[in-house]
Symmetry: C2
Subunit: 145 residues, 2 copies
Protein backbone atom coordinates (compact mmCIF):
# COMPACT_ATOMS: atom_id res chain seq x y z
CA UNK A 1 0.00 0.00 0.00
CA UNK A 2 1.35 3.37 -1.00
CA UNK A 3 2.53 5.22 2.09
CA UNK A 4 0.52 8.33 1.39
CA UNK A 5 -2.15 10.32 3.18
CA UNK A 6 -3.71 12.95 0.94
CA UNK A 7 -6.46 14.26 3.16
CA UNK A 8 -7.29 14.66 6.84
CA UNK A 9 -10.97 14.93 7.73
CA UNK A 10 -11.91 16.44 11.08
CA UNK A 11 -15.31 15.70 12.58
CA UNK A 12 -16.96 18.92 13.75
CA UNK A 13 -20.19 19.83 15.48
CA UNK A 14 -20.77 23.14 13.73
CA UNK A 15 -19.40 23.59 10.23
CA UNK A 16 -19.79 27.36 10.26
CA UNK A 17 -18.00 27.74 13.58
CA UNK A 18 -15.08 25.60 12.44
CA UNK A 19 -14.91 27.34 9.07
CA UNK A 20 -14.61 30.67 10.88
CA UNK A 21 -11.90 29.31 13.17
CA UNK A 22 -9.67 27.93 10.41
CA UNK A 23 -10.37 30.47 7.66
CA UNK A 24 -10.77 33.70 9.59
CA UNK A 25 -8.83 32.87 12.74
CA UNK A 26 -5.87 30.92 11.37
CA UNK A 27 -6.03 32.38 7.87
CA UNK A 28 -6.08 29.07 6.02
CA UNK A 29 -7.29 29.05 2.39
CA UNK A 30 -10.66 27.59 1.44
CA UNK A 31 -13.61 28.14 -0.83
CA UNK A 32 -15.89 27.69 2.17
CA UNK A 33 -18.78 25.29 2.53
CA UNK A 34 -19.25 23.16 -0.58
CA UNK A 35 -20.90 19.90 -1.62
CA UNK A 36 -24.38 20.74 -0.34
CA UNK A 37 -25.84 19.19 -3.49
CA UNK A 38 -24.63 15.69 -2.61
CA UNK A 39 -26.49 13.08 -0.60
CA UNK A 40 -25.37 9.45 -0.39
CA UNK A 41 -28.37 7.15 -0.71
CA UNK A 42 -26.28 4.20 0.49
CA UNK A 43 -25.08 5.67 3.78
CA UNK A 44 -27.44 8.60 4.33
CA UNK A 45 -24.47 10.98 4.61
CA UNK A 46 -24.70 14.49 3.22
CA UNK A 47 -21.74 15.73 1.19
CA UNK A 48 -21.59 19.19 2.79
CA UNK A 49 -17.95 19.85 3.59
CA UNK A 50 -15.22 22.48 3.92
CA UNK A 51 -11.87 21.86 2.19
CA UNK A 52 -8.60 23.63 2.97
CA UNK A 53 -5.66 23.13 0.62
CA UNK A 54 -2.50 23.15 2.72
CA UNK A 55 1.14 23.60 1.73
CA UNK A 56 2.31 20.60 -0.26
CA UNK A 57 -1.20 19.78 -1.46
CA UNK A 58 -2.44 17.99 1.66
CA UNK A 59 -6.17 18.60 2.13
CA UNK A 60 -7.76 19.36 5.49
CA UNK A 61 -11.50 18.85 5.38
CA UNK A 62 -14.18 19.64 7.94
CA UNK A 63 -17.19 17.36 8.03
CA UNK A 64 -20.06 17.18 10.49
CA UNK A 65 -19.55 14.34 12.95
CA UNK A 66 -22.95 12.82 12.15
CA UNK A 67 -22.07 12.76 8.45
CA UNK A 68 -18.63 11.24 9.02
CA UNK A 69 -20.23 8.52 11.11
CA UNK A 70 -22.79 7.79 8.39
CA UNK A 71 -20.13 7.96 5.68
CA UNK A 72 -18.05 5.36 7.55
CA UNK A 73 -21.10 3.26 8.50
CA UNK A 74 -20.40 3.65 12.22
CA UNK A 75 -22.40 5.07 15.13
CA UNK A 76 -21.20 8.53 16.20
CA UNK A 77 -18.73 8.27 19.08
CA UNK A 78 -18.19 10.70 21.93
CA UNK A 79 -15.89 13.69 21.44
CA UNK A 80 -12.39 12.78 22.61
CA UNK A 81 -9.36 15.06 22.45
CA UNK A 82 -6.67 12.43 22.90
CA UNK A 83 -7.19 10.41 19.72
CA UNK A 84 -4.65 12.27 17.61
CA UNK A 85 -2.77 15.51 17.13
CA UNK A 86 -1.65 17.45 14.08
CA UNK A 87 1.69 19.24 13.89
CA UNK A 88 2.07 22.78 12.60
CA UNK A 89 5.64 23.98 12.00
CA UNK A 90 7.08 27.21 13.37
CA UNK A 91 10.39 28.85 12.57
CA UNK A 92 11.43 29.93 16.04
CA UNK A 93 10.57 29.71 19.70
CA UNK A 94 8.99 33.13 19.52
CA UNK A 95 6.87 32.09 16.54
CA UNK A 96 5.53 29.10 18.45
CA UNK A 97 4.30 31.44 21.18
CA UNK A 98 2.91 33.91 18.63
CA UNK A 99 1.00 31.25 16.72
CA UNK A 100 -0.43 29.79 19.92
CA UNK A 101 -1.61 33.27 20.84
CA UNK A 102 -3.15 33.66 17.38
CA UNK A 103 -4.98 30.34 17.80
CA UNK A 104 -6.26 31.37 21.21
CA UNK A 105 -7.46 34.69 19.84
CA UNK A 106 -9.33 32.71 17.16
CA UNK A 107 -11.13 30.65 19.77
CA UNK A 108 -8.75 27.77 20.52
CA UNK A 109 -7.95 26.51 23.99
CA UNK A 110 -4.29 26.36 25.01
CA UNK A 111 -3.80 23.27 27.15
CA UNK A 112 -0.52 24.43 28.74
CA UNK A 113 2.30 26.88 28.03
CA UNK A 114 4.76 25.79 25.35
CA UNK A 115 8.07 24.41 26.57
CA UNK A 116 11.26 22.77 25.36
CA UNK A 117 10.77 19.00 25.07
CA UNK A 118 13.63 16.68 26.07
CA UNK A 119 14.24 15.69 22.43
CA UNK A 120 14.99 19.28 21.49
CA UNK A 121 11.67 20.54 20.12
CA UNK A 122 9.96 23.64 21.53
CA UNK A 123 6.21 23.20 21.25
CA UNK A 124 2.79 23.77 22.71
CA UNK A 125 -0.69 22.45 22.03
CA UNK A 126 -3.97 24.07 21.22
CA UNK A 127 -7.40 22.48 20.96
CA UNK A 128 -9.71 23.68 18.18
CA UNK A 129 -13.41 24.45 18.85
CA UNK A 130 -14.17 20.69 18.80
CA UNK A 131 -11.24 19.79 21.04
CA UNK A 132 -9.04 18.49 18.21
CA UNK A 133 -5.39 18.80 19.20
CA UNK A 134 -2.73 20.69 17.26
CA UNK A 135 0.90 20.97 18.28
CA UNK A 136 2.83 24.02 17.09
CA UNK A 137 6.47 22.98 17.03
CA UNK A 138 9.87 24.46 16.37
CA UNK A 139 12.76 22.07 15.85
CA UNK A 140 16.04 24.03 16.04
CA UNK A 141 17.76 21.09 14.35
CA UNK A 142 15.66 21.41 11.21
CA UNK A 143 14.78 24.20 8.85
CA UNK A 144 12.54 24.63 5.88
CA UNK A 145 9.49 23.07 7.49
CA UNK B 1 -0.29 31.03 10.40
CA UNK B 2 1.32 28.92 7.72
CA UNK B 3 -1.26 26.48 6.33
CA UNK B 4 0.91 23.44 6.85
CA UNK B 5 0.58 20.18 8.76
CA UNK B 6 3.85 18.27 8.89
CA UNK B 7 2.95 15.42 11.18
CA UNK B 8 -0.07 13.39 12.25
CA UNK B 9 0.18 11.66 15.63
CA UNK B 10 -2.17 8.76 16.33
CA UNK B 11 -2.87 7.75 19.92
CA UNK B 12 -2.51 3.99 20.32
CA UNK B 13 -2.96 1.53 23.15
CA UNK B 14 -0.16 -0.85 22.17
CA UNK B 15 2.80 0.55 20.28
CA UNK B 16 4.07 -2.87 19.19
CA UNK B 17 0.68 -3.92 17.83
CA UNK B 18 0.29 -0.71 15.86
CA UNK B 19 3.87 -0.86 14.58
CA UNK B 20 3.19 -4.35 13.25
CA UNK B 21 -0.04 -3.21 11.60
CA UNK B 22 1.47 -0.26 9.75
CA UNK B 23 4.95 -1.61 9.04
CA UNK B 24 4.31 -5.29 8.41
CA UNK B 25 0.66 -5.19 7.37
CA UNK B 26 0.52 -2.04 5.25
CA UNK B 27 4.22 -2.00 4.37
CA UNK B 28 4.88 1.57 5.45
CA UNK B 29 8.51 2.63 6.10
CA UNK B 30 9.80 3.21 9.62
CA UNK B 31 12.83 2.69 11.81
CA UNK B 32 10.54 1.19 14.45
CA UNK B 33 10.21 2.24 18.06
CA UNK B 34 12.51 5.14 18.92
CA UNK B 35 12.88 7.84 21.55
CA UNK B 36 12.87 5.53 24.58
CA UNK B 37 15.63 7.64 26.09
CA UNK B 38 13.44 10.72 26.46
CA UNK B 39 11.26 11.62 29.42
CA UNK B 40 9.65 15.02 29.85
CA UNK B 41 9.99 16.21 33.44
CA UNK B 42 7.45 18.97 32.84
CA UNK B 43 4.58 16.79 31.60
CA UNK B 44 5.60 13.30 32.67
CA UNK B 45 5.34 12.06 29.08
CA UNK B 46 7.75 9.48 27.74
CA UNK B 47 9.25 10.11 24.31
CA UNK B 48 8.80 6.55 23.03
CA UNK B 49 7.31 6.81 19.55
CA UNK B 50 7.12 5.27 16.08
CA UNK B 51 7.63 7.51 13.05
CA UNK B 52 6.63 6.70 9.47
CA UNK B 53 7.85 8.96 6.67
CA UNK B 54 5.11 9.12 4.05
CA UNK B 55 5.20 10.24 0.43
CA UNK B 56 5.78 13.97 0.26
CA UNK B 57 7.53 14.05 3.64
CA UNK B 58 4.45 14.03 5.87
CA UNK B 59 5.18 12.15 9.09
CA UNK B 60 2.77 9.70 10.68
CA UNK B 61 3.68 9.00 14.28
CA UNK B 62 2.29 6.48 16.75
CA UNK B 63 2.28 7.49 20.39
CA UNK B 64 0.73 5.80 23.40
CA UNK B 65 -2.54 7.48 24.35
CA UNK B 66 -1.38 8.04 27.94
CA UNK B 67 1.75 9.79 26.67
CA UNK B 68 -0.16 11.96 24.19
CA UNK B 69 -2.49 13.00 26.99
CA UNK B 70 0.44 13.89 29.26
CA UNK B 71 2.26 15.63 26.42
CA UNK B 72 -0.79 17.81 25.77
CA UNK B 73 -1.53 18.31 29.48
CA UNK B 74 -4.99 16.76 29.17
CA UNK B 75 -6.68 13.80 30.82
CA UNK B 76 -6.88 10.74 28.52
CA UNK B 77 -10.23 10.62 26.77
CA UNK B 78 -12.22 7.59 25.69
CA UNK B 79 -11.43 5.91 22.37
CA UNK B 80 -13.69 7.33 19.67
CA UNK B 81 -13.66 6.36 16.01
CA UNK B 82 -15.58 9.31 14.63
CA UNK B 83 -13.18 12.13 15.48
CA UNK B 84 -11.33 12.13 12.16
CA UNK B 85 -10.38 10.08 9.13
CA UNK B 86 -7.27 9.94 6.96
CA UNK B 87 -7.41 9.49 3.20
CA UNK B 88 -5.23 7.04 1.30
CA UNK B 89 -5.24 7.34 -2.50
CA UNK B 90 -5.85 4.46 -4.89
CA UNK B 91 -5.47 4.37 -8.66
CA UNK B 92 -8.59 2.43 -9.57
CA UNK B 93 -11.77 0.94 -8.23
CA UNK B 94 -10.11 -2.47 -8.12
CA UNK B 95 -7.17 -1.08 -6.18
CA UNK B 96 -9.51 0.37 -3.55
CA UNK B 97 -10.93 -3.09 -2.98
CA UNK B 98 -7.48 -4.70 -3.00
CA UNK B 99 -6.07 -2.23 -0.47
CA UNK B 100 -9.06 -2.64 1.82
CA UNK B 101 -8.51 -6.41 1.67
CA UNK B 102 -4.83 -5.87 2.49
CA UNK B 103 -5.77 -3.73 5.48
CA UNK B 104 -8.23 -6.35 6.69
CA UNK B 105 -5.62 -9.07 6.34
CA UNK B 106 -3.29 -6.91 8.45
CA UNK B 107 -5.87 -6.68 11.24
CA UNK B 108 -8.06 -3.73 10.27
CA UNK B 109 -11.84 -3.73 10.47
CA UNK B 110 -13.78 -2.84 7.33
CA UNK B 111 -16.82 -0.84 8.35
CA UNK B 112 -18.75 -1.42 5.10
CA UNK B 113 -18.08 -2.39 1.50
CA UNK B 114 -16.63 0.34 -0.68
CA UNK B 115 -19.04 2.09 -2.99
CA UNK B 116 -19.29 4.98 -5.43
CA UNK B 117 -20.06 8.20 -3.57
CA UNK B 118 -22.46 10.73 -5.15
CA UNK B 119 -19.61 13.19 -5.78
CA UNK B 120 -17.82 10.68 -8.00
CA UNK B 121 -15.30 9.07 -5.62
CA UNK B 122 -15.19 5.30 -5.09
CA UNK B 123 -14.09 4.62 -1.53
CA UNK B 124 -14.33 2.50 1.56
CA UNK B 125 -13.24 2.84 5.17
CA UNK B 126 -11.12 0.69 7.45
CA UNK B 127 -10.47 1.11 11.16
CA UNK B 128 -6.95 0.42 12.42
CA UNK B 129 -6.36 -1.66 15.59
CA UNK B 130 -7.29 1.38 17.74
CA UNK B 131 -10.38 2.22 15.71
CA UNK B 132 -8.79 5.12 13.83
CA UNK B 133 -10.54 5.61 10.50
CA UNK B 134 -8.89 5.55 7.10
CA UNK B 135 -10.68 6.05 3.80
CA UNK B 136 -9.15 4.47 0.71
CA UNK B 137 -10.36 6.53 -2.21
CA UNK B 138 -10.19 6.56 -5.98
CA UNK B 139 -11.21 9.73 -7.77
CA UNK B 140 -11.63 9.00 -11.49
CA UNK B 141 -11.49 12.73 -12.16
CA UNK B 142 -7.97 13.03 -10.79
CA UNK B 143 -4.72 11.24 -11.37
CA UNK B 144 -1.27 11.34 -9.88
CA UNK B 145 -2.42 11.21 -6.29
Amino acid sequence: MKAKIFFITLAVEDLGRSLAFYRDGLGWPTEGIVGQEFHDEVTGADGTIVIFTLDGGLLLTLYERANLAKDASLPPGPPSSTEFSLGIPAGSREEVDQLLAQARAAGATLTAPAHMRPFGVYSGYFADPDGHLFEIAWNPGQSGQ
